[in-house]
Amino acid sequence: MMEVIVNLFQLCVNAMYFLADITNTTYKEINAIVFLIIQPGLILLFFLLWRKAIKKNETTQ
């Protein structure tokens, strides 16, 4: 199990290096952009849209 996780982790690291190369950024920068800005941003965006849709449903009923 640990071996699978280590291999998958390494795959993700390689993917981030590839992404950093094609976007002319560094590994650290692309990591921070994808995992620390975009992903939490999407969570927040969809959470707020969901709450807004609930409120809209409540007012129309």
Partner: protein, 160 residues
Amino acid sequence: MQSSTSHSSLRPFGWCVALLLISTQSWGQETGCISGNCVNGQGTYVFTNGMKYVGEWKDGKQHGQVTYTSADGSVKHLTAIKTEAKANKEKNFNRIGDIMGEFLHNYYDWAYDFLQLLGGYTYLGYMLVNFLIFIFIQPGLIILFFVLWRKERNKNLRGQ
């Protein structure tokens, strides 16, 4: 009624026993930097979960070629993290801008330190905690809230 009260009063005791059992897994096992230099140079570091990192260290972080060994010693991997040449090349090719680049580097370093701390605290290790948060939990939450939002939106459209 009395039975349920006595069960709930035993719950903290049960948690204490569980935590004690988990913590005893690392008893008798030396943890921390067990040999060499784990700040700058070659060193061996053992985490409380038994995971051992052997290799080069720079500014207190794993650097270059590092060997990962699981607690039972059965899994060994040689993993290239980042060489000095690669780091310098990346620095030269930084196109985002110095201020933004510095902010992102500091943000990454802060997250790295936090995950190291969390990995040690939960006995899961840095790699597993990183994997769980960024590959499972965060994408899972994105999908969950997206599906919930679409569901509410469709319900709203049907109601109009």
